[in-house]
Symmetry: C2
Amino acid sequence: MRERSFYAWGYADARATPEEVANIEKSLANRFGLTSFNVATPPRPEEIELRAPRLTLPPQLRDFTSTDHVDRLFHSYGKTFIGVRTLMDRKCPNPPDAIAYPRNEDELAAVLDYCTNHDTVAIPFGGGTAVTAAVEPPQTAERAITIDLKHMNKVLEVDHTSRAARIQAGTFGPDIETQLKPHGLTLRHYMQSFEFSTLGGWIATRSGGHFATIYTHIDDVVENIRAVSPAGVYQSRRLPASGAGPSPDRMMLGSEGILAVITEAWVRLHKRPTFRGSATVNFKTFYDGADAVRGISQAGLFPANCRLLQTEEASNSPDAVDQGAVLVLSFESADHPLDAWLKRALEICAEFGGTWEDESGDDELAHRSGKAGEWRAKFIRTPYLAEPMIARGIMSTTFESAITWDRFRDFHTNVMDATRRVMKEVTGYEGSLTCRFTHVYPDGPAPYFTLMVPLSPTSMMSQYKEVKAGFLEALVANGGTVTHHHAVGRAHRPAYDKQRPELFAQALRATKGVFDPKGILNPGVLIDP
Amino acid sequence: MRERSFYAWGYADARATPEEVANIEKSLANRFGLTSFNVATPPRPEEIELRAPRLTLPPQLRDFTSTDHVDRLFHSYGKTFIGVRTLMDRKCPNPPDAIAYPRNEDELAAVLDYCTNHDTVAIPFGGGTAVTAAVEPPQTAERAITIDLKHMNKVLEVDHTSRAARIQAGTFGPDIETQLKPHGLTLRHYMQSFEFSTLGGWIATRSGGHFATIYTHIDDVVENIRAVSPAGVYQSRRLPASGAGPSPDRMMLGSEGILAVITEAWVRLHKRPTFRGSATVNFKTFYDGADAVRGISQAGLFPANCRLLQTEEASNSPDAVDQGAVLVLSFESADHPLDAWLKRALEICAEFGGTWEDESGDDELAHRSGKAGEWRAKFIRTPYLAEPMIARGIMSTTFESAITWDRFRDFHTNVMDATRRVMKEVTGYEGSLTCRFTHVYPDGPAPYFTLMVPLSPTSMMSQYKEVKAGFLEALVANGGTVTHHHAVGRAHRPAYDKQRPELFAQALRATKGVFDPKGILNPGVLIDP
């Protein structure tokens, strides 16, 4: 098994290459005039001292629970600047006391029992890629056990007729696809963290996936959910649809580990696509592109991919929307050629001044070449470039929202302005900022923002938090959601608390009281205890 | 304003014609050998004695609350055999004590305040077409006020850009369409009760609408929900999508008036379709048709209509599945011709032996003629034929479910068998029974069953309940949902209680405690107090 980095993104053997680092430094010089860097070196585990575990493992957990030094380091943080940089600074002030690796629901229930009876916080852990401080032990916890589901990693049943499978929650993206491949089926739920995240994590956080339309969130493909809570097993009925009361699945979707630990789910699958129709369309302005995307999303054409990207130059310009945009458009099907679909979508693009060169009928390779291909390669590689950025004290992050079309332009302008302003005020730099659409709905887009700005070497942690609070606040103050598919956790709470109805928070608290009467599961995530 | 019948379906001036009644009697003679009937005559309001109201209206409610005799009769029952027949029998043992018609949220809040402080049950009422005993005062209530939202009937805002509108919950289907028509937009959420049901009722019961695929439930078009509860106003944020915690909308969708009274919602709209592609396809057996529907639903073609119907003859035969089936298939769009879509769907039909004559490209009239047209006319008129049936002691009702494709044939066989058996055992008659698909998903259909059987003149109420309990039990025992779009209310509780996770019921009870601490809203619906 390839070893994962204990402190940064991804596989330990896949860190940024010297060439990639040189490109980053060149780009930082061009953008920000930075010519020398104080570079934090990669930490070694033994350089970081950990508090001794604050608990003694009872016999019933010993068989599958670890207090190993590296295990505890690896599970101390999700994958944000704060966590990675803290470990690079050779610190880890608040690690979990032990990591349980249950191999089945009985072992999982035993951990929850122990935690319930011993005032111990329990933190469900899938792939650990959270950007919301959702997998970190709370400061106030007297003891904490992280529950890593990596051994519950099987596709248990495949139903070819309905095109669905029962899959254990701890199964990572690639393992899902590997186990489905012999069946000619695929979940096709890809996102940037695909390699390092699990089905249970996707369900708990309402992840967004491959498809730009219809099946955008994991919510849309879940047939049922099974979970273990301190109060017992929860299992909804496997159904293609129902109208019987509020949906038991929707209560668990997005519950971020505060109600129960998800153990398995039936999910809808697809046949591997054999037909594709795709094109890369250029627009004069981002708003022209947005109008075309609106047209396509309201036409009932349902493209698989419909990513509208600002051109690279736009990231340095406050007039970004005038700098042009590229639409990566593709349809896919295992059933039929898509000429009629692509043709009509391109007609709509043309109505808004869109032009294209590389329209492609059924050529699978098309979307891997040209601008779309470049973008795709970058998409997969980007998370690995976070480490050299963080080592140089550069904030490089993303945030996303959703907003109805009528409010989109004001929302976009205001969020871009507010984010640029907070970067400048906090750091003194004109940070870079771009916007793209990752998912689109008939009534509005999901704008996705990428920013980069250097932080002060002496106060980078507080500056990072201040900038992040600034843009999250801007999303919610301008009518959007604090997150389209990155979840809430602890880090997004201040803005989330303004967004959700107060009575909903109370209802969620009452619901938690039923599933988790002692409040051991992920306290502070989504709601206060 | 056309007057509605106070005891039966629909407009008082649209009762079954003598010709329709003659046809019904002829058909009952053919099917069951019935040649003479003991016919209950239409009741007049003054023939039914009502218990005096058990409360004195306080000044703050008097302005908009009625204790009128006919008002109370009209609000005593939904539209099932039990209610209509009880009124035909000149009985109404448990009417609400008063009917409040709030004109705004303040008046609504005043009613809820009064009920909370005076141990009075409050029953939210939209169009009153419930088939689940959800709008009837519970037997145990000391006092009950029904809250009829008919004055909250406006489309408040229309957003052309996002194609959405903010609509008051008490607006009836036709009033929604009339107010949207000048904008060239439509909600297109049609069902058999369209004329006599409201947006708030649809949301509270998770109604199923016009579209056979994608936008099947009202759930799929709601952008936000506003509601008034005893604990205060609840309003979710208007968004095209979100990933921030469990969905606040999904908690209210299907809550059947036990948490709050829905007052308005933003919903997604469509442009009126201008293109259509449709065909009526014949199959040798129902299962051949089902296989074709499965193919279409998994092909990503998303037809607007995809109703698979057993042929009429099938209703009398225990070998119904061998008797042939008709697929009413249509695509619609306001954007593009649908030749490619229809062509591919028909290819799939042909793979399963489907044949058709009246394929039609873009002819709006096509779907109103031929077998599809006949079916449509019958669909709209059918509810009016309930009254003469009920007057003759004939049980004629429908029930629906959803099941994944892998289990569909067994489910279908077992539910058909169990329903035929319970009809025979309870009534002594071989009842008629047919199955169709109203909505389909990639992973399974929503089978919809229609049955007819004569009841004993002396024990029709208990026979009706016994047959109903039998088929609901069969749905759930065979892995389906107790309802795809008719809701749960009180009448479907025994089977529903077996279907939903016990921890979900507890969570729902805890949630109700937050919204409705005194438990005044619809007690007994969905959960026990």
